[in-house]
């Protein structure tokens, strides 16, 4: 155990100080929060500067002649050229012309120096609607203009969010899943490239006279597991902070990280890490080079995020057959469960069954990966074939060498 902990500490500290790790760990949240602040400040700025001042209009349709502009920023002009002259003189922030065929075309021409804030269109919409519906109850008109203010009560998860934040229903779990997958991917790739380096620079033969291959593997998995946890904790904390700062953004209003989702995600993340780490260590030990190991590991990563390709199925039916299949398949379970937890309440028995399958698979992967790892540590150059790997899995405790496999 002592040597396992020595390796774990070494792996943790040496990777913690890597420039790539520091950039990813602190750069990603700083960038995310920075973007959030930027979007928020732009939104607030836009809200402050929305007053363009007086807005003129010329009615060529005759539908609005004599219409009252009281209580609005609108000023009527007899002709389009009068409105244009006032605009050019700087008396108006914008002006619009209601053409003769407005009733049939619905089109008006708006002239402004810069963009058009949303509230200007609101004012124009309201003015036109009010005067077209003269004689109808004004409350009815107001309701026609804004028939629904949606508050989404997700009874399954007990959350309430605004209608503008509904898009976050699937964006949030996606973001959340990305955080975990990135941490998982970087930690397991550190493990794999570490093994490849130790093999290619031939220090492995010295290492295995100091400790057993399983001590080495356990130490690496433990150290890099802690490293991944540190990274993912920083990212989750940054995401929570970013969401808090981003409450001024309508799309994020009412959205926060849910404790239950975070807890389940961490559990699935850890199990998925053990599964992936064992696989990556074995790939690193068997592959002839880092490039080759990355190609093989890329296939595994693709499988892990397979549920993303079926996102539509998850959104339309988060408890349906496709979602259930991916939730129970061990390699895709973490991504599928996190996606579903963000959208609906996943039955507890499904989560527990998924965890059970994932745990059994992770243990099996650790066993198989450990055997392949130990067997292939001293094999250099040529990548062993599938038959040789299967033979190694069946044989207990034997270490292979380039010579043994060349002759066997």
């Amino acid at each position: 155990m002592r040597k396992t902990l020595i390796v774990a500490r070494h792996e943790l500290l040496s990777n913690l100080m890597r420039r790539s790790f520091l950039v990813a760990t602190f750069g990603v949240p700083v960038l995310t929060i920075g973007l959030m602040l930027l979007v928020t400040s732009i939104t607030v700025q836009f809200a402050v500067d929305k007053d363009l001042g007086a807005i003129g209009f010329a009615d060529e349709s005759g539908l609005f002649s004599g219409a009252s502009t009281e209580g609005t920023a609108l000023t009527a002009f007899p002709t389009a050229s009068d409105a244009q002259a006032a605009f050019e003189a700087g008396d108006l922030g914008a002006y619009f012309i209601i053409p003769a065929d407005y009733l049939t075309s619905g089109q008006i021409a708006l002239f402004t120096r810069a963009g058009m804030p949303a509230n200007v269109q609101d004012q124009i919409d309201r003015f036109l609607a009010m005067h077209l519906s003269a004689g109808i109850n004004q409350e009815t008109v107001a309701r026609l203009l804004n028939p629904v203010t949606l508050n989404l009560d997700l009874l399954d998860s007990g959350r309430t969010i605004g209608s503008e934040a509904a898009v976050a229903l699937f964006i949030m779990p996606l973001l959340f899943m990305m955080i975990f997958m990135m941490a998982l991917q970087s930690a397991s790739s550190y493990l794999m490239s570490g093994v490849v380096e130790e093999k290619s620079n031939r220090i492995m033969e010295v290492l295995i006279t100091s400790l057993t291959p399983s001590q080495l593997l356990r130490g690496k998995i433990l150290g890099l597991g802690v490293l991944a946890l540190i990274q993912v904790s920083i990212w989750v904390a940054a995401a929570a902070l970013g969401l808090r700062l981003g409450q001024a953004v309508p799309a994020l209003n009412g959205i926060s990280l849910q404790a239950d989702i975070v807890a389940w995600a961490f559990i699935f993340f850890l199990l998925d890490f053990f599964l992936l780490a064992a696989v990556m260590a074995a790939i690193g030990a068997v592959a002839g080079s880092e490039q080759e190991s990355r190609q093989i590991s890329g296939l595994f990563t693709l499988v892990l995020v397979l549920p993303i390709f079926f996102l539509t199925s998850f959104i339309t039916d988060p408890n349906g057959g496709v979602a259930l299949f991916f939730s129970l398949f061990p390699l895709t379970a973490p991504v599928a469960i996190i996606l579903r937890l963000g959208m609906t309440t996943v039955p507890l028995e499904q989560i527990l069954l998924s965890l059970l399958i994932l745990t059994v698979t992770a243990l099996a992967a650790a066993w198989v990966g450990g055997r392949v790892f130990g067997w292939s540590l001293l094999m250099y150059g040529k990548r062993p074939g599938v038959r040789a790997i299967l033979r190694a899995i069946r044989r207990s405790g034997q270490m292979g060498t380039t010579a043994t496999e060349a002759r066997s």
Binding site: S14, R202, I208, S210, A406, R407, S408
Partner: protein
Amino acid sequence: MSTMQHGAAVIEVSHIDKSYGEFRAVQDLTFEVRAGEVFAMLGPNGAGKSTTIRMILDILRPDHGTIAVFGGAIDAARKDRIGYLPEDRGLYRSAKVIDMMVYLGVLKGMDKEAARQRALQLLEELGLAANAKQKVSELSKGMQQKVQFMVTILHDPDLIIIDEPFSGLDPVNTMVIKDLLMGFRNRGGAVVMSTHQMYHVEEMADRLLMINRGQQALYGPVDEVRNRYAIHAVQVEGEGDWTSLAGVQRVEPPGEGEVGELLHLKPGVTSAALLSEIAARPDLTIRRFELAVPSLNEIFIQVVEDGAHA
């Protein structure tokens, strides 16, 4: 510092076999390595040296036979008493020299601070103190080889197993490493040295084992092995007509790069008798007189060729 009794068996290999499929890499090999000696392991490429070393280190297991290290089957504690430098060796290139040495020392059971102090001491002794905080990749090849050697002896092992110790080293560094190895041996440590460079064996080794095709070809003290291959002749350097000596059968002129004639003696004539005969002859003068013993290199080639024809 070794606490082993001088001459005590450090490695006892008894009738080991190792096969890879149909190929018998090691066959019925038996030998022993003792405290306070440099033990050379010789043999052509593919003879079974590396397999034997890996079996001693428990990296591979013999199919048959037994290996005892420090008086018992190898375990974690016994492994920590061994310093091993394989032929294919490397270091963590992106690590700082001192950090890497401490890590490998701690893995060998050392206390972290003790490992740091010992590493700094070795770096000082081998003239690399100023490089302690440099990355390994920033060192020259020769410096890296010295660091590799330092890592091997960092934890003050009782047994050093070293494969081609001088490969790639310049003459100065070769001398430094040689002195360190001989100092280790003189303090009672055991050195197993696998090499192709015979002059290092002649210079350093007390005993040797030559393996050919997985089998023991020669085993014993270096001088004894050389004498075993000695021919019935003496090599002399001096002036005079050597053919006129009664005890000489024929005279062989010096080969290219050699000095002195080779005098083949008649059956029954000893080298001492010939020396007396020369001394009694005022017309003959000698500056050098020694038994004609072949070099280890010649013996090595002869053994390998005999093996090939067998």
